[in-house]
């Protein structure tokens, strides 16, 4: 069980995370949703200890240290691979550092995406680089797989197929925490929706509960975010009104 107790983070005078507490159990597929700058990336980096923060992150009751860090993997849109190295170089490096490295899964996913194995990653397209980032996160052998906007720049066919493959390969103990803006696309993938707004946790629901209550994931997000449906028409009215006045 991953537990976050009272996590806060400030960037200067800006509060990026405000006393976030959350528990994520094994096998959950958690969607982490929120607008740009809501604190999703900061939360993931705090879990991994990549940034200093207040509060406590524990995994099965133990603080996250080098002893248990390999139980986490991380796919980020910023990419955490070495651009001058090839996929195979990374495979060798991961295999030598992560005891649970899943070589079979790595090979299968590389084949699925049709990625070249002996080409410097800097020479791949942005979409292929994202795919590789995700492949390594899934192949590391981690129990908790954190993905931060992993599919920015990928076409919809790749994304949809990928979710299907992901659901097929994940083992019961593997947990996904996925931060994305593509809410509708992951509706059938995630089992739980966690919403974050201005650094605060503002929503946390099982998708099965949403289904039971007849609410869509997008509807839930909009409702929690107090989305104003007439926002666009009002803005257009204002804009076209201004044009007319001129």
């Amino acid at each position: 069980m991953l537990e976050l107790h009272d996590i806060s983070k400030h960037y200067g005078f800006t509060r990026a995370l405000d006393s976030v507490s959350l528990s994520v159990g094994p096998g959950e597929l958690v969607g982490l949703f929120g607008e740009n700058g809501a604190g999703k990336t900061t939360l993931m980096k705090s879990i991994l200890g990549l940034i200093p923060h207040s509060g406590e992150v524990t995994l099965d009751g133990e603080p996250v240290t080098r002893k248990n860090i390999e139980r986490f993997s991380f796919a980020t849109s910023q990419h955490s691979f070495f651009p001058v190295l090839t996929a195979e170089d990374h495979r060798d490096f991961y295999a030598s550092h992560f005891r649970g490295f899943r070589d079979k899964r790595y090979k299968a996913l590389m084949e699925f995406f049709g990625l070249p194995r002996i080409k410097a990653l800097s020479r791949l397209s942005a979409g292929q680089q994202n795919q590789f980032e995700v492949i390594m996160a899934l192949s590391q052998g981690a129990d908790y797989i954190l993905m931060d906007e992993p599919f920015a720049g990928n076409d919809i066919f790749n994304r949809e197929d990928f979710y299907k493959v992901l659901l097929g390969i994940l083992e019961p103990n593997e947990t996904i925490i996925l931060s994305t803006h593509l809410i509708e696309e992951v509706e059938n993938f995630v089992t739980r929706a966690v919403l974050i707004k201005k650094g605060k946790l503002v929503g946390d629901r099982q998708t099965s509960d949403l289904e039971d209550s007849g609410t869509t994931l997008m509807g839930y997000v909009k409702e929690t975010y107090s989305y104003e449906p007439d926002r666009v028409s009002r803005a257009l009215d204002r804009l076209t009104g201004e044009e007319g006045e001129k």
């Binding site: 990549l50 910023q78 990419h79 955490s80 651009p83 190295l85 550092h97 005891r99």
Partner: protein, 151 residues
């Protein structure tokens, strides 16, 4: 004989032989620069013997004056090694955030080992050589000073 695997001593993707060549090249340049110290000492000795032979009272200048900046090259190399270490760390931020991967490794010292080993070797070699050469040049100076006192 099997060649040692130096690739584990530099950041992933960096070329260890290039870094080693740069370190040894810089040390060799610093050594060549330092050779001006014994040359200056010997020249000073010859000037003094020449003066003494024609009856002019002559005293050899002090070692610190003669050695002047002769060993500075090694200190500059040590400074450059510190920059190499900074570069090694910075290379993890170029084109990606590979530092995220390195900081997630179970091996706590992996990142630091790859970034600091060769710069540290460079600094150690530079400082050791500067001390050894300083002692050697001082020995040359002292022996010539003693020789001069016998004239």
């Amino acid at each position: 004989m099997k060649k040692p695997d130096l690739s584990k001593l530099v950041p992933l993707g960096a070329q260890p032989r290039k870094q080693l060549a740069a370190i040894f090249g810089a040390i060799i340049i610093a050594f060549i620069w330092s050779l001006r110290v014994p040359f200056t000492i010997v020249r000073e000795y010859h000037r003094c013997t020449k003066d003494l032979k024609i009856g002019i009272n002559a005293v050899m200048a002090g070692y610190s004056y003669l050695s002047a900046d002769g060993l500075y090259g090694f200190y500059i190399v040590a400074g450059l090694m510190a920059l190499l270490a900074v570069w090694n760390y910075a290379s993890h931020f170029i084109g990606s955030r590979a530092d995220y991967l390195m900081r997630r490794l179970p091996a706590r010292l992996e990142l630091h080992r790859r970034c600091l080993t060769l710069p540290f070797v460079g600094i150690a070699l530079s400082l050791i050589l500067s001390v050894v050469l300083d002692l050697a040049y001082r020995a040359i100076y002292t022996s010539l000073l003693n020789k001069l006192s016998l004239i």
